[in-house]
Symmetry: C2
């Protein structure tokens, strides 16, 4: 399993004492698939580093509509679960376990002190923020400018690649949550995909039957 | 006019030498309304701090659709015009003068050196990034979840407040650029507003006639 030190590229730049404090304060916890790890601003749980599994970071609109911002794989770190230490972060995110997931949990106050005394830690934090910002800008471009069919095709391909299988066990509701669309809209589009021979729909599963066609569609051309 | 030191809260934390270097390297330039100051990634002009005027920071989709991310007023600083020094920024923005605007231009390389040696500068940069990130998350929420009528009403009110007048000289095309909508869509909505007695449309101008109604609409309720 991934170690704490593997999640933080600045590890070697820390003093021995800082390393010890971090290792002693970090708590390893396992969450079952579906568990909510962090729910918005009032819940400043600290930094979360993924040791094993998969987390989903998303926003929820006032009307309850979910939208996935990005997903965190092994070694990835979530800053926004410690948003109380970043005064200028004025938005809330939710973090939930998309699979059974083991994380290292670093107390917010400890990280704040590290950041305030170590330039490499501050630099890492800033870079991580820039990287997440870029993810969200990409997403915004997708939402603004790409049609749902391209986004759905891209999502199915990405998911198949990540899981190493052509048969995805996902509900239409889950897909809607990722794409910020209603379940009905996703279902309709999937039925259209099936008619075009791109996928095969089963009970609680979607099988990719024409990866080439999906790739063309994901690139926003044709059809 | 705003001085260079007024734009950067970390000024007092710099050494005398760093302050001198910054003042000697910063170039004061004035741009006419409509001038493009920065056009995407390949154009790493450095940091831009607004001494007087108003800048618009926006993205352009592949199809040429513009979307305002935020606007920079006096004392505001644009990081993304120096995106070459932030490796993890993987998106392009355009910066143009929305009014005749005077800026201080700080060379990218100089700022990078400052950031790498001064924790307060790094911290400021990180906070600024967090703040812009928050602006964009707010925008994304607007785009995803609010209807155009609310967003248009909010924009008209904000603009009237900023200019201190009820009579706005804006084309429907400009408004479309701000809201990420086509000119036709904006025109149609403005005509609808006029019918409802919210605005009065003139040649190249829009007069707000019912601020209370617009405010209700901006808050996303009623109508």
């Amino acid at each position: 399993m991934i170690q704490l030190r593997d999640c933080f590229p600045f590890w070697k730049a820390l003093t021995k004492e800082q390393q010890n404090t971090m290792e002693e304060s970090a708590v390893k916890r396992t969450f079952e698939k579906g568990t909510l790890l962090h729910a918005g601003e009032e819940d400043c749980v600290g930094l979360i580093a993924v040791a094993e599994g998969l987390l989903r970071v998303y926003t929820v609109s006032e009307e309850g509509k979910e939208m996935t911002m990005y997903r965190l794989l092994e070694r990835d770190v979530c800053l926004f679960s410690a948003s109380c230490i970043f005064q200028d972060i004025r938005f809330d995110v939710m973090v939930s376990a998309a699979e059974d997931t083991t994380v290292y949990h670093i107390p917010a106050e400890l990280y704040r002190r590290l950041m305030e005394t170590s330039l490499p830690v501050m630099e890492y934090t800033s870079r991580l923020m820039a990287s997440r910002f870029s993810d969200v800008m990409w997403l915004m471009d997708q939402v603004m400018n790409k049609k749902l069919d391209s986004r759905l095709a891209a999502f199915l391909l990405e998911e198949a690649g990540r899981m190493g299988t052509d048969r995805l066990e996902l509900t239409h509701e889950q897909i809607g949550g990722h794409l910020g669309s209603a379940r009905e809209v996703v279902s309709r589009m999937l039925k259209h995909f099936q008619k075009e021979g791109l996928v095969q729909l089963g009970r609680g599963s979607i099988t990719l039957s024409d990866e080439e066609g999906l790739t063309r569609l994901a690139q926003g051309s044709l059809m």
